[in-house]
């Protein structure tokens, strides 16, 4: 880590030396400083603690059936975790639905463990039940780290889900007359110090899609994509989406398919 931090700082200093103009330099200093900060955060990501917790939950018998999730089919066959996240969301024949990692986990908890998952759907973010789901999602996503995003729209329902997500992305409403595209449909948008990715492009979709679940340093919490989307809805002053509902999966499908071919970088770490 130390070498990486030092390298980022050297790069920052070199950049300062090259740019002469005082104002350009100020701006550059800030951008480079923040870049160095973000780089330094990456190593020793507390998300690893959630990965560990998620793995334990995956392997531990629980629920009325006292069964583990080891037999859960995430799309690559029962119990196959490695690489599964890179291909989610996907169409599952057993549920005849397109599911993301979190909605699929609910299916497995219900089918394998006999758990009434409604409590997990209804639980607020940041409370133990949601934290368990997010730890599981973190573990599963981590097992696809560095794999290429490979989501297929071959099944008609998958294609449908993508189109639904696209419609949702451009759907403009609420007291602020916002859509997702208002912030994420143009290059170079920014909120405070955060660059907002343009989800319509592969690069932008990759920046959004491939880094969640992520550890949020501001809150010291692990956030999944479901939580991230829920908060996007809040920020738009939209009604709160139901956890793991089709609408949330559809938005994920839109992002994931746009990000196809990019590299899974989860679990991430964010401001």
């Amino acid at each position: 880590m130390n070498a990486r931090l030092a390298a980022a700082l050297v790069a920052a200093l070199a950049a300062v030396a090259v740019f002469g103009g005082a104002r350009a330099q100020d701006k550059d200093d800030t951008a480079k400083g923040i870049e160095a900060y973000r780089e330094a955060l990456k190593d020793g990501n507390p998300a690893e603690l959630f990965e560990m917790a998620g793995e334990e939950l995956w392997n531990k018998p629980a629920g009325p059936k006292n069964a583990s999730l080891q037999g859960c089919d995430l799309g690559l066959g029962p119990g196959k975790v490695e690489g599964a996240f890179a291909q989610l969301p996907r169409y599952f024949a057993d549920t005849d639905k397109v599911q993301d990692v979190e909605s699929r986990l609910l299916t497995c908890m219900s089918a394998l463990q006999g758990i009434d998952t409604q409590e997990y759907v209804d639980a607020r973010f940041g409370t133990p039940k949601k934290n368990d789901l997010i730890a599981l999602a973190t573990y599963i996503s981590g097992a696809s780290k560095d794999k290429p995003v490979a989501v297929t729209l071959a099944h008609p329902k998958a294609r449908q889900m993508y189109e639904l997500g696209k419609r949702m992305f451009f759907f403009q409403a609420g007291p602020h007359d916002f859509s997702c595209a208002t912030c994420h449909g143009e290059e170079g948008r920014r909120i405070r110090m955060q660059d907002l990715p343009n989800i319509m492009t592969k690069e932008g979709a990759a920046a959004g899609w491939t880094s969640w679940p992520a550890y949020r340093v501001s809150s010291g919490q692990m956030w999944s994509m479901q939580w991230r989307l829920n908060d996007c809805f809040r920020q738009q002053r939209f009604p709160e989406p139901i956890y793991a509902s089709d609408m949330t999966v559809a938005l994920s499908m839109y992002m994931a398919a746009n990000a196809n071919g990019s590299t899974v970088a989860t679990p991430g770490i964010k401001r």
């Binding site: 030092a6 330094a40 949020r216 501001s218 010291g220």
Partner: protein, 155 residues
């Protein structure tokens, strides 16, 4: 807190004593931490901390290094690397002058340790950060300003 107290036997013995005391229900937890330097951690200025650690002053030294970004996007988590190139380094401390209590951490440097620690601190606001080193019984330091852009809410 000298190197002698860091022995394995000491740890084991202390554990046993703690267990016994706890079982007897007669302990105030604070008192268990004989080696936690309360005075130093309650210091409001660098001077108070240096004194509580047993020194009188701490001159700047080029042999002490703080590696950190100039700007922290969020003060809740600020990566800091503290390095001493001085022979016989005994202790390294990290201080944040603008925090309510300035001392964040003290590391004892025994004979087996390379004086090079990385951790993450909280900063309440933009502040000078000091790495304080005790070497050969003397205190020296390095200072770096780190700007904190809290970045507001949500996100």
């Amino acid at each position: 807190m000298t190197d002698k107290t860091v022995g394995r036997r000491w740890v084991v013995k202390r554990g046993a004593v703690l267990a016994a005391l706890a079982a007897a229900g007669m302990v105030v937890p604070k008192e268990l931490f004989a080696s936690w330097n309360k005075a130093a951690f309650e210091g409001k200025t660098a001077d108070e901390v240096v004194k509580a650690l047993g020194g009188s002053s701490a001159a700047a030294s080029g042999e002490v290094q703080i590696i950190a970004s100039d700007i922290a996007e969020n003060g809740a988590v600020v990566p800091i690397q503290a390095v001493s190139r001085l022979a016989n380094t005994q202790q390294i401390a990290i201080l944040v002058l603008a925090n309510p209590n300035v001392l964040a951490a003290v590391f004892d440097v025994g004979p087996d340790i390379v004086p090079d620690f990385t951790t993450r601190i909280k900063m309440s606001q933009t502040s000078n950060v000091i790495v304080l080193v005790k070497a050969d019984g003397k205190f020296v330091s390095a200072t770096k300003e780190i700007k904190v852009t809290l970045g507001g809410c949500g996100g």
